[in-house]
Symmetry: D2
C-alpha cells in the first residue's frame, strides 16, 4: 500500500510548516498541505477568541472549547475523506492532548497507510524562532515543545534544532519508499 498521508506533529514554531512546504517541493507527485492553522482560519472570528472556541492566553497557553472541538472532529473526517478520494496530503498539527490527539486521528484515518512524524525542537530554540517570526503569541513555543509528544508513537522523528527543514523533508521523503 502506498503512503498517501503524512502527519507532522510538533509544538508551535518547531518548523512543521516549513518541512511541509519542503516536502511538497521534493516529493515527485503533488501533495496537498493543510494544518491546524487552516482550520483556525476557517472558524468564525468569534470562535478564535472566546472560551467556546480557541483561546490564546497571553502566556502562550492554548485552550480549546467544545465548539472548536466539534468542528475540528468534522474537519479531521473531511481531511481523511480527501485522502481516500485520491489527494496525497501532509497534515501539520499540534497534539495539545498528546496520545489522545493521536487516537482521534487514528480513528478517522483507519485503513489508511499513514506516516507519523514527530517534529522536535529544543524548547529555547523554538522560543527564539517564535520571537524571530513575530506573528505568534510569545510563550506558545516553550509551553508546547514537550507536551505535544507525550505518549505519541511515531514512524520517524526529526529535530529541527540543528537540522534544516529541507534536510528533514528529505529524510521523511526517503521513508515513503
Amino acid at each position: 500500500m502506498t503512503t498517501r498521508m503524512i502527519v507532522l506533529n510538533g509544538g508551535s514554531s518547531s518548523g512543521k510548516s516549513g518541512i511541509a512546504r519542503c516536502l511538497q517541493a521534493v516529493l515527485p507527485q503533488p501533495w496537498l498541505a493543510v494544518g491546524v492553522d487552516t482550520l483556525v482560519e476557517a472558524m468564525p472570528a468569534t470562535l478564535r477568541t472566546t472560551g467556546a472556541g480557541i483561546e490564546f492566553a497571553p502566556d502562550g497557553a492554548v485552550r480549546v472549547g467544545p465548539e472548536f472541538d466539534a468542528l475540528q472532529a468534522a474537519w479531521m473526517t473531511g481531511v481523511a475523506a480527501m485522502v481516500r478520494a485520491g489527494a496525497p496530503t501532509i497534515v501539520d498539527d499540534v497534539f495539545l492532548g498528546g496520545a489522545a490527539s493521536q487516537r482521534r486521528w487514528q480513528q478517522v484515518l483507519a485503513g489508511l497507510d499513514v506516516l507519523w512524524v514527530g517534529v522536535r525542537c529544543d524548547s529555547a530554540v523554538a522560543a527564539g524562532r517564535e520571537l524571530a517570526r513575530g506573528d505568534r503569541v510569545t510563550g506558545m513555543a516553550a509551553s508546547q515543545a514537550a507536551v505535544v509528544h507525550q505518549g505519541v508513537s511515531y514512524d520517524l522523528e526529526v529535530d529541527t534544532t540543528h537540522t534544516e527543514s529541507l534536510t528533514c523533508a528529505r529524510t521523511i521523503a526517503a521513508r515513503l519508499g
Copy 2:
C-alpha cells in the same frame, strides 16, 4: 432537513469572502468557511504557476491543469464529508466552468441540503475593487464576472454592486429559515 451547506459562486472580487465572513458573524451557530483560495494555498508552490496546476495569466485569465483538477475533485469530496460529519460549511468558489462546475459539486454533495447562492457584481465595479485590493492579478474580476454564472441555477442571488456584504449575508441567512 436543515441546511448545513451554503455555496457562494461568483467572479473574483465580487465579494464572496466578505459575505462568508459576515454570514459567520450573523448565523447563530458556528459555521466553517472555506474556498478555492484555501485549496490553492494547500497546493505545492509549483502547481500555482505551471500548466499542470493553476496559471494566472497577465491578462487575468485563469487556466486550470489536470493535476490541479484531480486534487480539486478530492478536496471537494473532503468538504462534503466534513459537512456530513457535522460541520456546517460555507464554500466560496469561482465556477470557471459554469454549469459543469456546479454539476461537479452536486455530485459530491448528493443527499445534502445545499443553499446555492449566486454572487453578482457589475463587471466594472468588481474591476475597481480588484484595483483597490491590490493583491490580485488585474483582469480576473472583469473576465470572470459573467462567465461563472452561465447555466448555473441558484436558490438565491445577491448583488454586491450596490448592496453591502453584511446586508447580503442577512438576506442569505434569512433564507436558511
Copy 3:
C-alpha cells in the same frame, strides 16, 4: 507648486487604503503609499500590545502611549523628508486626536503643498465592512467614524458609503490639477 503629498484621514474601515491603491493606479506618475499601519508594523511587537505603545481594547478603543507617540513623531518627520526628497506620497492616517493630529502633520509638512482629504463612511456601513474584512478588532470602525474628523479642515471630502474607492480616487486625482 505641484502637490506632492495627499493625506487621507478617516476612521478604521472607511476605505482609505483602497482609495490609496486606486490613486496609485490612476495617477500618471508613481506615488508611494504609506500609513499608520506601516508604522505599527515597524514597531517592536511589545509596543503593539502594551500601554507604552498602542493598545487595541476589546471594544475597539485604541490607546496610544508615550513611546508610540515619540516614534510616530519621528516617523512623520521622516515621511515629510521623503516627500521633500522627491517621492510623491499618499499617507493614510487615523486622526485619533482630530484637529490636534492634523496640527502635528502641518508642523512637519510646513512649506509643502498638501492635499487634505477627509474619507467619510457611515458608521454602521463601516462596522459592516469591518466584519467583512475579518482582520480588525470589532468596534474600531464605529468608535472612530466621527471623532477622527472633529475640527479637521479638508480640501476635499469623499464618502465611501455609496461611492466606490476607484470613483473617490478619480475625484481626488482630478483635484491635483
Copy 4:
C-alpha cells in the same frame, strides 16, 4: 555618540528580518524596523512588475528600473531623517549593487553613528529556507548570497547558517555598547 541606526545587509532568505525582530525584542529601548520590503509594498502595484520598477525574474534575478531607483533614493533620505528626528531604526536591505549600494546609504546617513552588519548565510542553506518559506521567487536566495557583500565594509558580520537569529541579535546588541 550613541548608535541609533543598524543596517543589516544580506541576500534574500539570509535571515535579516528575523534578526531585526529579535533585536527589537532584546534591545532595552524601542527600535523601529524597516526594510526594502517596506519600500516595495509602498510602491504602486505596476512598479512591482514592470521594467521601470522592480522585476522578479523566474530565475530569481531582480532588476531595478529608474523609477524604483528614484523612489528608493527619496525613501532612504526619509529613513535617515526619521533617525535624526529621534527614532532608533534597524534597516534590512539587500545591496544588489554591493559597495555602490552601501555608498548610497553612507551619503544619506552622513554624520550618524551607524552599525553596519553583514548577514551571511551559506547559499544552499538560504535556498532551502527560501523553499521552506514558500512565499519568495525561487532562486533569489542563491543568486544574491554572495554578490550583495562584494566590496561592502562591516562593523560586524553574523552568519545564520549554524546560528539562530536570536543569538545573532544578541551578538549585535552587545556591540552597541
